[in-house]
Amino acid sequence: MLIERVLIFLIFITGFIGLISMKNIIKKIIGLNLLNSAVVLLFILEASRIGDKAPILNDKIQNIVDPIPQALMLTAIVIGVCVTALSLAMSVRLYKTTGSLDITIIKERLENEY
């Protein structure tokens, strides 16, 4: 169980570093998506600790995983798509206004303009 947790932690840290250190807005959004994926994977992993079958009930099934984190993560995935779409639309708007996706250049140009 430890190796999965370490890998999820690596995905989380990769997303976080991408979010805070990249200059390109698109790469920041990719980092945000990685953070979201790490959280989803962590919940699914935690749910699978008490069972090993998918939670589709029938007569013979025993030992199913906990379905509640899966239902929660369904919500989280949809919200993640919403956040991604909104931030991509905003970055399109910024690109049309300033002509760049680099945050330092965007900041310079906006300061020069106003």
Partner: protein, 243 residues
Amino acid sequence: MKKTSFFKIFLTTFIISLAVLPIILSNKSWPTLARDYLFNQAFNETGASNTVSSIYLGYRLMDTLGETLVLLVAITGTMSILLNLHKQTLESVETESSLSPEKRPQNALRTNLVEVVASKLGPIILLFGLYVMLYGHISPGGGFQGGVIVASAIVFLALGTEVKTKLTNSVVLSRIEAFSFISLILVTTYVVFFTDGFFSSIATDSPFVSASIIILLNIIIGLKVGTSLAVMIIAMMGGQHAH
């Protein structure tokens, strides 16, 4: 300048690791109470053998309503940002290797290969999306998943030019979305008249306990998610798509 920013990034990463590592590496045993209750009762109470479906369309239907509201708000924001943009600039972009029908401005980033494959695959993926949507109560799948597949099928239809369909028109899609959202609100408010109140559980308190309500909600949510995502992606591809 560069060194300090590197140090800052390292320090922030270290602090966030200290905060997150105990959560990720925690070895506390996961409670089995809810799992056992759902294993024994979920099928009898909601009629859906897919337990995930019976949670988000039965026990926690109000959460799903809130989630679709969040989706609606995000789509509205995205569309209001994007639609004003396309009115201002419609520049024609041509790539070097494009063939003659691809040189229309709205098709600049396409190739013949994409057009043919997308319009051949679109109807098949649409059918698969409807299957995932309709069988969400007895197999892996459901409204959200089927809706996303339907959305990708509509995007395929919009990419291709061979199949002429009204389904890629933003106005038609928005009408379907509005209709499905109104039906979702109507279906979720029916608990007001039959049970204790608006926030009571639709599964355990309602007199119509069967899988039919789950199937109905799966269809409504699938239409809602599919059309709203498709509208958004078509807007990102370049405004209203008209065949």
